[in-house]
């Protein structure tokens, strides 16, 4: 009697079973129930046949047109913003290297400027008389400095004379092949 009652309860689970809504343990029970209940077995067979028929029918007869895939692929390509043409050519590691070189160049420029700044030598200061004669003006190098400094294969730093003796500007040129800029 109990078995019969259990069977009826399990028959009520048919919809949940077909909808994939039974927990694993109950699903196993229902699988066993199928061996003894012909009505449920028929319903499950009918469902499986229907699934197969629908899968075959939709798969065979309902395919999107090839132009839809093309449109979507084009759309996906358009919605991805391209990087700046110059940056696009350089891999990430190279971009980092260039940034580091720019920073290094700035430090070098500052050092370069401090070297060029005219200062009285220490000895002269030591031997200087106690009475203060007229101080001679510091001599400033009049010839412009145009040294070409290569920092690496990727960047060339060229100090530019801007007319200020204490300031040196270093212009950095990336040594990327000209062909990559053409694109």
């Amino acid at each position: 009697m109990n078995e019969l009652t259990d069977d009826f309860v399990l028959c009520d689970s048919l919809d949940d079973y077909l909808a994939g809504d039974l927990p694993a343990e109950r699903r196993l029970e229902f699988d066993q129930h199928l061996a003894t209940c012909e009505a449920c077995r028929l319903a499950v067979n009918e469902w499986q046949t229907l699934c197969l028929a629908l899968e075959t029918a939709t798969g065979e007869l309902e395919n999107p047109s090839p132009s839809l895939l093309e449109r979507l692929q084009a759309g996906a390509a358009v919605s991805t913003p391209p990087a700046h043409p110059d940056l696009q050519k350089w891999p990430d590691s190279q971009k980092w290297r260039v940034s580091a070189l720019v920073l290094a160049s700035l430090v070098a420029a500052l050092l370069f400027a401090s070297i060029l700044q005219p200062r009285p030598p220490h000895q002269e200061l030591a031997n200087a008389p106690q009475t203060r004669p007229e101080l001679s003006k510091p001599t400033v190098a009049k010839t412009p400095v145009r040294a070409k400094v290569e920092f690496s294969d990727d960047v060339i730093g060229v100090p530019i004379d801007i007319g200020e003796p204490n300031v040196t500007v270093v212009w950095l040129y990336p040594t990327v092949p000209a062909a990559s800029h053409a694109n």
Partner: protein, 175 residues
Amino acid sequence: MREGLAEHLPHVYRLALRLTGDRHRAEDLTQETFLRAWKSRSQLKDTRAERVWLFHIAANIWKDELRQSRVRSALRSPLPEDAPDRKPTPEQCSELRESLERTLSLLNSLPVQQRTVLYLVAVEGLSAGEVGNVLGINTNAVKVNLSLARKRLREQTEKTAINSDLRWGTTTRDE
């Protein structure tokens, strides 16, 4: 996402067909689904759930569209029979194709929610909970719709079989 485009496209398109009941609208809905998915692809955490996620987007877009344009009549109309690729060529006039077309026609004759639920469970293999998430309805509603769809299909199949028997004269008055 872009890699899975060709793989998921037919499935999303077929769901769109269930929802819209129209090939052109289904293509538009599919296109919009992928474009929206592409824009919000960062929200997708589990790539295994990509297809269900796409279904969810498609169902939401269609719901919004219905809300805006209220094209309810489209829901009840079955797929047009005069679609060019549905016309069987002499080679395609096989019994199998006819049977497949009959099956599709039966599916498309169901109300929109029943045919969509049935498609997602029977063909896409989604559980009632997943279907509920995709369509924004509760699990019980999914199960009721599935049960109704099965019942209606069974009735339709029996009716078709009886009509077929009548047409071929195998059923007599005495029976």
